[in-house]
């Protein structure tokens, strides 16, 4: 089976979110970048499926050269080869165009990615790639098993889940508990150094909805503490001050 996993290169979940002085760019000073946490689930499941069925697992990121350590980590986790589409990811449409263009040539059986990136939280790329390639797309997928060309999935819905059946090829945006995250071992880290990481150029510069400026929410005021022996005061505050009851 040929599997493509698309990963994002995002600030660590514990990063302080701040922007440059003119509020037009994310300030990366002191920020550690990681594989998107949802993409990590997609990658972990893809490694398991490749190990079960054989075939090849390719990982792809749309990003400039600073994302290569993130791709090397994906190789250390178990991907066979990595592709970097050499461009700054501008919006979901731009990223989807790049992925669809690359994937069309590769005729992948399965294209997996996280349900959303944890920076822009759009959750749109899997559906856009699906529509661009004329393939079914599903998200957020929390279980995915392949038997021949039949795929059994579970997808989260508000307050529950639905089970689905579809055929390969398809696209899924993944989330837990589809697989346990995999941590690279020493053998993986060593072999990742020699696995191919190819750079391809972007196919177009088209965007449709690009972020132009950023802002932080107003600073939170200090917590108002209520004595544990006077819970009635909390009820009164919620009712009369916060007006949420």
């Amino acid at each position: 089976m040929k599997i493509l996993v698309c990963i994002t290169h995002v600030p660590d979940t514990t990063s302080k979110i701040q922007f440059t002085a003119d509020n037009t760019k994310f300030d990366t000073t002191g920020v550690q970048f990681i594989i998107g946490p949802y993409d990590d689930y997609a990658l972990a499941r893809a490694v398991e499926l490749r190990d079960q069925t054989g075939g090849k697992l390719t990982v792809l990121n749309v990003g400039e050269s600073e994302t290569e350590p993130t791709l090397r980590k994906a190789l250390a986790i178990g991907a066979d080869e990595a592709i970097r589409v050499n461009a700054s990811p501008k919006d979901s449409f731009f990223v989807s165009k790049q992925i669809a263009h690359y994937a069309k040539e590769g005729a992948y059986d399965l294209i997996l990615m996280g349900r959303e990136s944890i920076d822009f939280n759009g959750g749109m790329v899997h559906g856009m790639v699906g529509e661009l390639l004329g393939l079914p797309s599903f998200s957020p997928v929390m279980k995915l098993d392949v038997e021949g060309t039949t795929v059994q999935m579970a997808r989260e819905i508000e307050g529950g889940k639905e089970s689905l059946e579809a055929s390969l090829p398809l696209i899924a945006g993944c989330q837990e508990p589809i697989a346990e995250w995999k941590i690279p071992n020493m053998r993986g880290i060593m072999s990742a150094r020699t696995k191919p990481l190819n750079v391809v150029e972007a196919v177009s510069e088209e965007t449709q909805a690009e972020a132009t400026s950023y802002e932080l929410p107003p600073a939170k005021g200090a917590v108002k503490l209520v004595d544990k022996d006077n819970v009635g005061e909390l009820v009164s505050l919620l009712k009369n001050e916060a007006k949420v009851l």
Partner: protein, 322 residues
């Protein structure tokens, strides 16, 4: 010309978040002069439910009662909404951000060649370009996004708009949808829903428990408080990882992200990943015996105390008041 709104339903009942989308569309149409709001509803809808769509601001509802559309088959819904978009000559599609809404919106953005903005928190500004404010970094920041296409798709974040209730009656028209086998290339084989309780992603009040609850046998206390408030129950990641509570109750960065009016966290220290799932809440109350728990920094109100002592007292006080 009209603004089209995609209405989601669950077992015949229209979702409140979709009514919020209708209210958003009504305010948008008034601002931009895009005409009336037309809603498109798919599948069997309970009698009387469509009246709320009118109250929320729609002038017309296109309703396809095709039973195959009762289940939210993503491609079929995207195909049907695209047909409605063309039929009414809309330039803007509004929908609620949700599990199904996101999946459908993404496909529609390509079908309609429309710039798509998700997690929209405010009406667009149109004085200089078409600028839409959206929530990013899981509620920790906002981005102004410029949409450059003629057609637009806006997915509105829950609780970002006041629900309009004084609209008129919406005219309901039968909507004939042409669907192909390709639209149903996937099959929903079963659906499991949490029953008899308030659904977490849509709840207006959420009561969550963490490791401080010490075990699943103590959850009755959380449920009593939730029941008193008409709230949904949630939990932290360690709690669902340990199997104390089901995964669909896990609130946080990699679980369910909630945006209720009131979020009450009991025995949860407030790891950054948990905060990312709740920081869009209007009001946060934290109950924790550790005064140094980081969650207090994100809270509006707090009680430093043992949950086993404080929560039953709070439930009694609320019962007396509500």
């Amino acid at each position: 010309m009209s603004v089209l709104v995609y209405i989601e339903q669950s077992e015949g009942k229209i979702k409140k978040t979709s009514l919020e989308a209708v209210s958003f569309a009504h305010a948008l149409a008034s601002k931009t002069g895009e005409g009336d709001v037309v809603a498109v509803a798919l599948g069997t809808i309970e009698q009387g439910e469509l009246a709320a769509v009118g109250s929320a601001g729609a002038a017309k509802v296109l309703h396809s009662s095709e039973e195959k559309l009762n289940a939210g088959v993503i491609q079929a819904h995207a195909s049907a909404v695209a047909q409605a978009f063309t039929q009414v000559g809309a330039k803007t599609l509004v929908l609620a951000k949700s599990s199904l809404g996101d999946a459908v919106a993404a496909r529609l953005a390509i079908k309609l060649n429309a710039g798509l903005v998700s997690n929209v928190v405010a009406l667009p500004s149109t004085e200089s370009g078409y600028l839409v404010k959206r929530s990013i970094f899981t509620g920790k920041a906002f981005a102004e996004t410029e949409v450059t296409t003629e057609n637009k798709v806006l997915a509105v974040k829950k609780n970002s708009v006041d629900l309009k209730t004084d609209g008129g009656d919406a005219a309901v028209e039968n909507f004939d949808v042409a669907l192909s086998d390709a639209d149903f290339s996937s099959k929903i084989t079963s659906t499991e829903r949490a029953t008899g309780e308030v659904l977490l992603p849509e709840a207006d009040i959420v009561v969550s428990g963490g490791r401080g609850m010490k075990g699943p046998e103590n959850w009755g206390m959380v449920e009593d408080l939730a029941k008193t408030l008409g709230a949904a129950t949630g939990c932290s990641k360690p709690v669902s990882d340990m199997g104390w509570r089901p995964h669909h109750e896990h609130v946080g960065q990699t679980g369910v992200k909630v945006a209720p009016s009131l979020y009450i966290a009991i025995g949860i220290s407030g790891a950054i990943q948990h905060l990312a799932g709740v920081n869009s809440s209007k009001c946060i109350v934290v109950i924790n015996k550790d005064p140094e728990a980081p969650f207090f920094k994100a809270a509006d109100y707090g009680i430093v105390g043992d949950a086993f002592e404080v929560v039953p007292k709070l439930t009694e006080a609320l019962k007396a008041e509500l």
